[in-house]
């Protein structure tokens, strides 16, 4: 029997929204307002005391942003979501919702460089330490867990090394230790993999990337799975003990499967203020409408470009989890059956003493259609040299841990006609080879 719940494509277009009741507007209106008029003093007091639902101030919630939150929550199969100004503020807010001084995180070592910085350099100033482990060895997560650990964290498709995290195995380890698993699902989007269904408890995104897809608006989000028992062993007092900041409310008792989201909104959004603007939410909603269509094109273009790069004489190596020689190919086929994303890493052959780093730079300087910039998941094809940019703050050991090599080029495959991309890459590879003496 079909339960007749809306499917993914439908939710991408309609989740969280119905035509505006007053005006009939079909598109999501941009509620460009800071604040909301109360019906009377009783209504105002009830909103402030979480007795009734509604909007108070756009730092905490906004109707346009709420559509985006509901839509992403529905796409991920979550119980609720809180959107933030960026993916990094989503991650920081999630961590601050769960823990404080003296606590500890176990994280995959293969992460976006900004997340590594947060864990390695910033959070220690707040008394929170992180142990990084090899994402290909789930048992390392178990070994790194301490009594003060409060979170296990990872990316399904590691950045930029493209290691695949066995989400189910790591979730099992986390749960056996009474810990939640937070997955940064930016690289896969819920179209390719729904981490909550694999056992994750929280999912975060930089929606700036594939979810928006256009590269015009920053945003982040945290989605709650709603099945984690925050109360079982007293590790999460922010959710299970009275909170003086809201008249002694106990979030888990009061809100059950939406406890985390309610606490994050009530505290992190209120006190830290990483609010997403309604204008950005509108842009991101326009992107989400075509997420399934775009992801299909991202994946098909990636497959063709992989074939091209593998057959190119000027390419030293190429890696992607969809390639049979990738160490995680079998796992990727299992948990990312539609395709393991549209990020490709490769190295350019060099004939000079400068090695791959010089060849990579020559390639990047020669592309004309692909754009050299610090982003991924745009509709347009992007290239970057992580060792000198996004991951430049890492020392050599951390780079090694993150699966990063000096010659690595990170390619974010876009939606252009793939033959135009191949032509662009052919001429850039020729120029790189010539510049470094790899060919005459």
């Amino acid at each position: 029997m079909d339960p007749k719940l809306f499917k993914f494509n439908t939710l991408s277009l309609h989740g969280g929204q119905r035509p505006d009741a007053e005006t009939g507007a079909r598109a999501v209106p941009i509620y460009q307002t800071t604040s909301y008029v109360f019906k009377d003093s009783d209504h105002a007091a009830a909103l402030f005391n979480l007795e009734q639902a509604g909007h108070i101030y756009s730092r905490i919630s906004n109707p346009t942003v709420a559509v985006l939150e509901e839509r992403i929550s529905a796409l991920e199969g979550g119980t609720g979501a809180v959107a933030t100004a960026s993916g990094q503020s989503a991650l920081f807010s999630a961590i601050m919702t769960l823990m404080g001084q003296g606590n500890h995180i176990v994280s995959s070592a293969s992460l976006y460089g900004g997340s590594v910085n947060l864990f390695q350099h910033t959070l220690p100033r707040f008394g929170i330490e992180t142990t990084f482990v090899n994402p290909r060895k789930p048992e390392e997560f178990r070994k790194a867990i301490r009594p003060e650990t409060r979170l296990v964290f990872g990316e399904i498709i590691g950045n930029p090394g493209l290691e695949i995290l066995d989400v189910s195995a790591v979730a099992k380890i986390a749960h056996e230790a009474g810990l939640p698993l937070l997955i940064d699902a930016t690289f896969n989007t819920p179209y390719l993999c729904r981490a909550l269904e694999l056992g994750a408890d929280l999912v975060s995104h930089s929606v700036t990337k594939w979810m928006g897809g256009h590269g015009v608006a920053l945003g982040g989000v945290v989605v709650e799975g709603g099945r984690f028992d925050w109360e079982s062993d007293g590790k999460f007092p922010t959710l299970t003990e009275p909170y003086a900041g809201y008249h002694g409310i106990n979030f888990f008792e009061e809100f059950g499967p939406q406890a985390f989201s309610m606490r994050m909104r009530s505290e992190a959004m209120r006190d830290f203020g990483p609010a997403m603007s309604p204008q950005n939410a509108f842009y991101l909603l326009q992107g989400l409408e075509t997420l399934p269509l775009r992801m299909d094109r991202h994946i098909s273009n990636t497959k063709i470009l992989l074939e091209f790069l593998q057959s190119s004489d000027e390419v030293a190596w190429v890696t992607h989890p969809d390639l049979p020689d990738h160490p995680d190919h079998e796992l990727a086929s299992r948990i990312l059956p539609k395709g393991a994303g549209s990020i490709v890493a490769f190295g350019v052959k060099s004939g000079s003493s400068g090695g791959g780093r010089e060849a990579g730079a020559a390639f990047i300087n020669s592309v004309q259609l692909a754009s050299h910039l610090a982003n991924v998941g745009d509709a347009k094809t992007l290239v970057i040299h992580p060792a000198s940019t996004t991951h430049a703050q890492m020392d050599s050991e951390t780079m090694k841990q993150a699966g990063l090599t000096e010659d690595m080029i990170r390619l974010s495959v876009g939606l252009e006609d793939v033959n135009d991309l191949i032509d662009d890459f052919k001429q850039a590879l020729r120029k790189a080879a010539k510049a470094t003496g790899a060919t005459k």
Binding site: M1, Q17, R18, A46, A83, G226, R227, E253
Partner: protein
Amino acid sequence: MKLNVASVTSAKKIKIFAATGGKELSSELPLLVFLHGAGMDHTVWNLQTRYFAYHGYSVLAIDFPGHGRSDGTLLQCIEQMADWIPELIDAAVEISGKDGVSGSNSKKASLVGHSMGALVALECASRYPELLSSICLLGVSAKMPVHPVLLEAAANNDPLAYDLVTSWGHGTTGHFGRTPVPGMSLIGGGRALLSSAPQGTLGVGLAACNAYQNGLTAAGKVDCSTLCLMGSEDKMTPPKQGEKLAAEITNAKTHLIQDCGHMMMLEKSDQTLQALKAHLSST
């Protein structure tokens, strides 16, 4: 809070969890007891309980035995659950510090029940009229036949049951979204709540609803002030059925919430609150 409540199935008292809306119980205030539906728990009432607790009521939103955070075994039928309510009220009276619940309706409580909880409130009002000043029945009909596929799936803890209940239980608002609480998902929230419940909880609750045949007879015996609150898009307890039941109750009013399914306290939380407020303030 946890209450020690006498069991109707054994001699031992059991610990029952009840949310109080953020306030302690007071013997000076009328007691308002919220009863959830099959497979659910007290959290479905969070957009009503906190308001009433801060506006002149002693509130108890319970988890039925074997549900949520309550101990005890699952009660198997509506009549058994109804017989347990007086024990619950006794425990609440005891913990609030006096030998009776005072307020505008001295020593009487009001029950607000949803779906299975509404049948329990109805049956309780017919059996123990001396205990109750009013009942509010949300998503109710005299009989609640459950589709055999759903019954079987729920009995087997098959996730299909969670999807069927969340799909049939929500109206347009629930399916499309734009829920009262910014950013929250009704479908996802419902599915998580049902799937997190102890094994068998939904199955036993739905079987109890399916087996209950005494609705119209019970309605004929109810003499307290009654509100039947219905959702215009309710597929599980269609409004027509709620009206039929209300017609059998001497002192009943009906209220229809438009654009709303079976889960009205979540889908249309403010309208539900307003209807409850209006009813309770008139009794």
